[in-house]
């Protein structure tokens, strides 16, 4: 009996190739400035047009400055790349939500908020966090630039059907524990390679009780355990989120779509190649101590010894880079920067959560804090709710939309040797700038760290 993943995948197989690979039809293709220029060049060199330009949406997010967004980009290479996206979209007739457009923002924030993302579709983008869109019951995954070119030319990718994994989270999350803690907990159990070769379905009562924003945070980080993508069965929460969005179906089309979406959830007797079950009550507020997202622990725990997941050489390298020690407590440790943003945690609910904690408080003197909304629409909503003033009154900078300090392609970088509590998705060496030391956490834990000037347990506040 089919799973949600089977139903969506099998409905998109154009043909199978001897040896196991399948030609998978792609309904929606999101592109951005960093992984598309070589694909457009390839089309030009081969003299191939886009097969379906109405299935592609472009935005500028990775490189864009988060200050002075109305002015030309100062950094020449970023400016060139963003300008090239504009030129390519004009030449090939692709819809572009560039800088200055009211829909501009992080590609994985704008897809859902505009209703481009929806249940039952296949979606790709030259970005590994495309897994985010799986929160809607879509098959969504990141691809390389060669595949970006293939999808532009043929609306298809060629790949083997991944294996199926289900991760059940049953029960109720503790107060102060968020979707981010949930997924950091799962990745800490499975390691960065635990999902390799699989597509993950998240299920169980704790998942069903999450908002769409929370579900997006969970699916977003599927790639951090090596999974090709993650997805969650569409339900009333999904439909309520999508109804009335810019590109959502309307009227009779909406009713027909919802009737179809209700048929998608995994059948009761379906089986998975791999299955794990965790208790929501066991999940604490999480932080990372090392240099990959699998190196995570409860905020009150001590840094663990090397293990089967993280060998002695990896742990030693991580501890040297982070200037931490095995057995050390991180709670109470002073920090230097707080970054609230990224495709993992920059949606309105994330800003509300962080805002609720900093309201009426001050960012500690030793901390530089920035809040980067995921899109112009999120920024507009936050301003309408007065969240920008809450953050600024507390001493945070409230910026314009973009990927920002998640990967430091623009000027938003963390200096070498400094600790940054970050709501983003990767704590790899140098991710937030050469030598930067990243501690991944939820928006609540990050906001609490900004106010306290050190790592604290939000359950104590």
């Amino acid at each position: 009996m089919p799973t949600l993943f089977d139903k969506v995948w099998d409905a998109h197989v154009v043909t199978s190739v001897p040896g196991g690979a399948q030609v998978l039809y792609i309904d929606r293709h999101l592109i951005h400035e960093v992984t598309s220029p070589q694909a457009f060049n390839g089309l030009r060199q081969r003299g191939i047009p886009l097969l379906r330009r109405d299935r592609i949406v472009a935005t500028a997010d990775h490189n864009v400055p988060t200050k002075d967004q109305d002015k030309p980009i100062a950094e020449p290479l970023s400016r060139k790349q963003v300008n090239m996206l504009t030129e390519n979209c004009a030449e090939f007739g692709v819809e572009l939500y560039g800088l200055g457009h009211p829909y501009q923002g992080i590609v994985h924030v704008i897809g859902p908020e505009l209703g481009i993302t929806r249940p039952g579709i296949t979606m790709v983008c030259g970005d590994s966090h495309t897994s985010t869109h799986g929160a809607f019951g879509a098959i969504a995954f990141g691809i390389g630039t060669s595949q970006v070119e293939q999808v532009m030319a043929t609306q298809c990718v060629l790949m083997e059907k991944p294996r199926k994994m289900r991760i059940n989270i049953e029960g109720e999350l503790q107060a102060g524990v968020t979707a981010k803690d949930l997924i950091l907990y799962v990745i800490a159990q499975l390691g960065t390679g635990g999902g390799t070769g699989h597509f993950v379905e998240y299920a169980g009562s704790a998942i069903r009780n999450l908002s769409m924003e929370g579900r997006m945070t969970v699916c977003n980080m599927s790639i951090e355990m090596g999974a090709r993508g993650g997805l969650i069965a569409p339900d009333q929460t999904t439909f309520d989120y999508l109804e009335g969005r810019e590109f959502s179906p309307r009227g009779a089309d909406w009713d027909e779509a919802v009737a179809h979406w209700r048929t998608l959830p995994t059948d009761a007797d379906a089986t998975f190649d791999t299955e794990y079950t965790y208790r929501a009550e066991d999940i604490p507020p999480m932080i990372t101590y090392g240099t990959n997202p699998g190196m995570g622990m409860g905020v009150t725990d001590t840094i663990p010894e090397a293990s089967a997941l993280h060998g002695a050489a990896s742990m030693e390298k991580a501890m040297n880079y982070m200037d931490l020690e095995i057995g050390q407590h991180m709670e109470g440790m002073p920090i230097d920067y707080v970054f609230i943003g990224s495709c993992t945690n920059s949606r309105i609910e994330d800003l509300r959560l962080a805002g609720s904690l900093v309201q009426g408080k001050r960012v500690a003197a030793n901390v530089t804090g920035i809040v980067v909304p995921g899109s112009q629409q999120v920024a507009k909503q936050a301003i309408a709710e007065g969240l920008d003033r809450v953050f600024e009154a507390a001493g945070f900078e409230f910026r314009g939309a973009g990927c920002s300090a998640c990967l430091g392609m623009n000027e938003d970088k963390v200096p070498a040797g400094r600790y940054c509590v970050s709501t983003s998705n990767r704590n790899f060496e140098g991710r937030q700038g050469p030598g930067a030391r990243t501690i991944l956490a939820s928006p609540l834990t990050a906001a609490a760290a900004a106010v306290a000037g050190k790592i604290v347990d939000v359950r104590d506040i």
């Binding site: 040896g19 070589q38 097969l51 390389g144 060669s146 298809c156 090596g226």
Partner: protein, 199 residues
């Protein structure tokens, strides 16, 4: 794409697990708009210090090690989907990466560029790394037709798996895009038959 059939070479050891694509090519070097030239920034922050001086303890800066094969710890290429990682490894001069397993997106990107990812058991990987530790001139053979990885010092021959279609592409230097373009009629027929309400 350049065809790949067989090679025998010395190898460069990188016995670290979970090597992520941010290490292979840091994000600040992704601003180029062509596929060329990424090799000079391969493993940039492990290879060079803040003053852009080579770090002597990093393997690529050790003149004892060279070759067309990179042999690395488990879960090589995890992290982002940047194809620039495969381009950088290839541009530097490697033709094969050997590990006990690869991150999915990296593996696909490598295959799409004619960079062969060879998956071997943890025991075979350990043996290869020990062999190089004892003799940096140790040679290895990768035969794609036979799907074998041979440690020429110990004589260990191990078979590796590769998708039949991908193997044909690599042996002949074919791109996926050529194949997909040849499927155009099937794709357009699929589009016509599809119920469109979910789009």
């Amino acid at each position: 794409m350049t065809p790949f059939k067989q090679l025998t070479s010395t190898a460069v050891p990188l016995p670290i697990e979970d090597v992520d694509t941010d290490q292979i090519i840091p994000a600040r070097f992704l601003k180029a708009t062509t596929r060329e030239g990424f090799g000079e920034n391969l493993f940039r922050d492990w290879r060079y210090d803040k003053l852009n001086q080579p770090k002597p303890d990093f393997v690529l800066n050790n003149p004892a090690y060279a070759g067309d094969i990179l042999i690395a710890g488990a879960n090589f290429g995890c992290g982002s989907s940047r194809e620039h990682a495969a381009w950088a490894i290839q541009d530097y001069g490697f033709r094969v990466v050997v590990s006990s397993y690869f991150a999915d997106i990296f593996k696909g990107n490598a295959l799409n560029n004619g960079l062969l990812p060879v998956t071997v058991s943890p025991a075979v990987l350990d043996e290869a790394l020990r062999t190089i530790e004892q003799d940096s001139g140790a040679r290895f053979t990768v035969n794609l037709e036979a799907q074998t990885f041979t440690n020429e010092v110990t004589g260990t021959v191990t078979e590796f798996e590769i998708d039949e279609y991908k193997k044909t592409c690599l042996l002949n230097g074919y791109d996926d895009i050529d194949f997909l373009l040849s499927q155009r009629e099937k794709i357009e027929s699929f589009e016509r038959q599809r119920l469109d309400f979910s789009l």
